[in-house]
Symmetry: C2
Amino acid sequence: MALNVAPHSQQACDTCPIRPHAVCAGSPPDQLVVLEGLKFRRSFTAGQVVVWAGEEMDFVASVVSGVAELGRELEDGRRQMVGLLLTGDFLGRPGRAIAPYTVVAATDMTLCCFRRPQFEQLLTKMPALANRLLEMTLDELDVARDWMLLLGRKSARERIASLLVLLARRESAMIGQIPTDRIAIELPMTREAIADHLGLTLETVSRQLAALKADKVIVLDGKRRVTVPSFAALVAESAAA
Amino acid sequence: MALNVAPHSQQACDTCPIRPHAVCAGSPPDQLVVLEGLKFRRSFTAGQVVVWAGEEMDFVASVVSGVAELGRELEDGRRQMVGLLLTGDFLGRPGRAIAPYTVVAATDMTLCCFRRPQFEQLLTKMPALANRLLEMTLDELDVARDWMLLLGRKSARERIASLLVLLARRESAMIGQIPTDRIAIELPMTREAIADHLGLTLETVSRQLAALKADKVIVLDGKRRVTVPSFAALVAESAAA
DNA sequence: CGTCGGATTGAATGCTGTCAATTCCGGTGG
DNA sequence: CCACCGGAATTGACAGCATTCAATCCGACG
């Protein structure tokens, strides 16, 4: 795969928007300088594959902007999304050369990359980096396990509601609010992508959205915009733990 | 909850059976001595709850012997197992006081414990410990994501076969072999526990085991012992990725 | 021998998937 | 500006798989 390294990739970490949330958060200034010298950026357009499951992956990265999806699939084509990488999230695995899942850019996306062997070296020398990565990995593990509950036990309607709750919480967090009523949610994905996340078919997704609309739990403005009259009602539909 | 600390818990780490695989693996001798001085053991009988989801958890631990199950549940009682802790696995989360899932001893079990604040201290000072924990956490994340594929996309029959493949691989690994034919698998759990892992009902588990038996993919010796005439055939049934 | 929990089996319901037809919407070109 | 196109989404009919509810079986243990 051609490395589309951006020219002048040495943008300063000082001004990096994801610093407070990324792996590099918490690293002291002298270590940040080292990171700054080794990083390089790569950009992807929506729909582009970053790595295929089973392929070699010689770098690790932080998502600077955009969204990436982690998916795993069976030989016959059945697909399950197993993770979402949002701004600041970490991609790749120190100590493993082969990617265990396919990574696709869901939107246009920019990554801040490090060559894997170099990054592994850094981990042994920079405890702050290792600890931040551990913390992030533990968070992802919790998210994955919550999703297991959804996939294993929730009905189609509950899965849709759960996803909407998740998205609503995120939109609210963006503007520093806790979710209240009349939230507008932008669905950042097609029905098929939603289905692949929830372990459903796209037809079922469509039907359950229609059902939630009919029951006045949500209002649909066009295909991709949802407004929620009562957040509490939506949470009730999601069968929260 | 009463701490049932074993008297004379200061068993030597030298002779500890899980040393090669646990968090402490890779720590240099001088650091092991520190760990040895701080550890204490706790034992649980099969079925006993170690912590409830939402409860405070003031320690972290390695499983010395036995099996523990991590589960999450909905208000109405639906339950999904989200992890299995086997010999050597790590329990608890540095930096988080509240347990996100319920932990139950599936068999009689012994833990090698550390008080959480002390352990967090150690992590910052012992890079080998932090790196081993990171590695183990990344492994668990991969396992969780594989399971998401199973829960989201596989049929009941495929889920059962997948579980048997997993157990067969583990039994074989124990004796240092790769799985071949005529493997004997011991099911370490009830039908209900299997169902909770696979996101099924216990009736479906029972039916699919019967179906696999009828199709001569497996042989049932009593309720809890399965032998596999052809491992390849079993793998084919599991819809491997 | 009786009991109790776990496991199996049966019948019926219902949710979700499958297949297929149709509609909606955004973009493109005449 | 409008007609057309193609992909996304919706809707309908039907089939099938897993769940639900219920009855029975099995095996360990007193």
